[in-house]
């Protein structure tokens, strides 16, 4: 089984009808000796909801600002809809941006805010106001035109910023941490609204976020960035199930990273022995690793089964250990199991399906952990 089959999505190739809208080649941005963005190649397809995901300072915002023309690259090129943007200033690019602070002009009414981009383009006032009202209706702010920005809530101001950017019918809409300033409930609601909005207007969205839930739930594809480099670009499920690097595995969701040595790699099976595990484990994966090289087993805690007796299925990877910590989180409990002395604990997440007052296992219990060869992935870097 390969990564492609698992998610049904193509990897690294553009299908018919998926024409690229943004092509980034060798793009770098240096501040003095620091590379904020380091030799990035990326293709974003027409109509995609694309997310740039990474920890703060990974260069994702700088990359977005280079797409908008607000930063000039040190090296490399950006092409939007086939056109080289190197000499095109920010105010002439066919992209519009929703800023992190929304940047709604405080001295203008909502209507004037939304119509501003049309007015500077020379659209007549009547026409500009008519289109502004349409855009406001699109973001469910119909009739808010005469209001002042200081009469709006944070969520409404964001909608104004969205309408203001969409009214110019850009080829790409850039969103810089669009949900970070909203409270938790509103954030969840806006995720759906952004996805619905993107589907209804059909414009390519590129969103920058540090929140993996946001990226996983909204985006059709995600580029994970770290230290100015793109670590992996893939659809959400592929990113979660088949991370290519330790960083991606660790950044997206929770993971057990177990260091070991590759014993053998053949026929789509990688055999890994690790000091933390009593027996070698076998993992099914398409990309083989040279025998004898060091590798990391990335194992999601929810994919591990915990039981008092060893499982009957001999095909499963099985190890034994002792429950050392239990974290109760309401919907799930996390069991931290010690397999071998002086080695990291293994996290196992168990859904609390019953309203239990008695846990199936308690501190000090002897347990068996097992997982199918299709769970987990062995990483070389």
């Amino acid at each position: 089984m390969s990564a492609q089959q698992e998610t049904g999505a193509p990897v690294g190739e553009v299908q018919a009808g998926d024409a690229p809208i943004i092509e980034i080649a060798g793009l770098s941005k240096h501040y003095g000796s620091v590379a904020a963005v380091d030799d990035v190649d990326l293709t974003i397809r027409r109509g995609e909801f694309f997310a740039l995901l990474g920890p703060s300072g990974c260069g994702k915002t700088t990359l977005l600002r280079m797409l908008a023309g607000l930063e000039l690259p040190t090296a490399g090129t950006v092409r939007i809809d086939g056109q080289d943007m190197s000499t095109v200033p920010a105010n002439r690019r066919p992209v519009n941006m929703v800023f992190q602070s929304y940047a709604v002009f405080p001295h203008m009414s909502v209507r004037d805010n939304v119509a501003y981009g049309l007015k500077v383009d020379g659209v007549p006032r009547q026409e500009a106001y008519r289109r502004a009202e349409e855009a406001l209706e699109l973001v469910k702010l119909g009739g808010y035109g005469p209001r002042r920005p200081d009469q709006l809530s944070g969520g409404q101001r964001q909608r104004v910023a969205l309408a203001r950017a969409l009214v110019k019918r850009p080829k790409v809409l850039l969103l810089d941490e669009p949900l970070s300033a909203l409270d938790a409930k509103l954030r969840e609601q806006m995720r759906f609204e952004l996805v619905n909005l993107q589907e209804s207007v059909g414009i390519t969205f590129v969103v920058v976020t540090h929140d993996q839930d946001e990226a996983l739930s909204m985006a059709t594809r995600i580029a994970v960035m770290d230290h100015g480099r793109v670590q992996q670009t893939a659809p959400p499920a592929e990113l979660y199930e088949f991370p290519r690097t330790k960083f991606v595995a660790d950044f997206i969701g929770s993971v057990n990273l177990i260091e070991g040595t590759v014993e053998a790699s053949a026929d789509g099976i990688v055999r890994l022995s690790a000091p933390a595990l009593q027996v070698p484990v076998e993992i099914e994966q398409a990309t083989g690793l040279p025998a004898g090289s060091s590798g990391w087993l990335a194992l999601r805690p929810e994919k591990v089964d915990i039981s008092a007796e060893p499982p009957e299925d001999a095909g499963r990877n099985t190890v034994a250990g002792t429950v050392e910590e239990i974290t109760y989180l309401g919907d799930v409990s996390i069991f931290h199991v010690r397999l071998t002395a002086d080695q990291p604990l293994i996290k196992v997440t168990i859904a609390n399906l019953d309203r239990v007052t008695r846990r199936p296992f308690t501190w000090g219990d002897r347990v068996h952990l097992s997982w199918a060869p299709t769970c987990g992935v062995v990483l070389s870097q």
């Binding site: 607000l70 800023f99 002009f105």
Partner: protein, 279 residues
Amino acid sequence: MATPIGPLDYSRRLWVRLTLLVVFVFLYAPIATLIAFSFNDSRRNIVWNGFTLKYYEKAMGNEGLIEAFANSLTIAVISTLVSIVLGALVAVLLWRFRFPAKAGYEGAMALPIVIPEICMGVAMLAFFSRIGWPSDMIWPFNLSAIIIAHVSFSFPFVAVVVRARLEGFNRELAEAAQDLGATEWQVFRDVMIPFLRPGLVAGGMLAFTLSLDDFVITFFTSGPNTVTFPVKVYSMVRFSVTPEVNAASTVLIVVTVVMTAAALWMQHRAGMKAEEAAG
């Protein structure tokens, strides 16, 4: 029953009250007296003889005084407008760009605020006489030397006020305008200027009042035919302090106080708006 005086209850301590009283007496008693005696029906400013407005009438009829007042207003208006433009440009320059010796330039710009006025006055006098600046031009060009001098000491005040306001400027506002298609000039006109307006008004008010009642520097730069209001009052006082001087001074106080109050109010309103926007 008297509660004990708390540690921060300064207003209930006797020595604080006494200090306050003395300060207020020395601050405001002279001004109050000046204003009161402008209505005094007497040639001398010593004994209260009854209420009259005749010294206001007399001041109004004093052509020299009226001309001086007109000169002062003209100088104040022109130097204020020039100071606003110059001060705003300097503030934006210091905020927007990076260039060598920026910190030094920023310090040097504030120099006219701290330099003793008398030194500025002497320097201006020496400067204008050295380059031979003509003093016998027709009105209002005969005021040019004074206007230039006033601009040189009042534009830093505008720059300082505007610079302070720029610190609170969200650069994303300018970038948003640019992203929406605005040119550099349109960004400045449509986003920067409206944001800076309270600062420009407050700085302008400051420049206006500074110019209107400046005596020292004006005294050194004014020619025989370019008397301003403060200089005229000074020359009147040299003969005797008549209620007419009091009346003229009262008018100047009222004008200055009104301008200052307006400036403070503008700033206060801008502060309230900024708070609302932040909240």
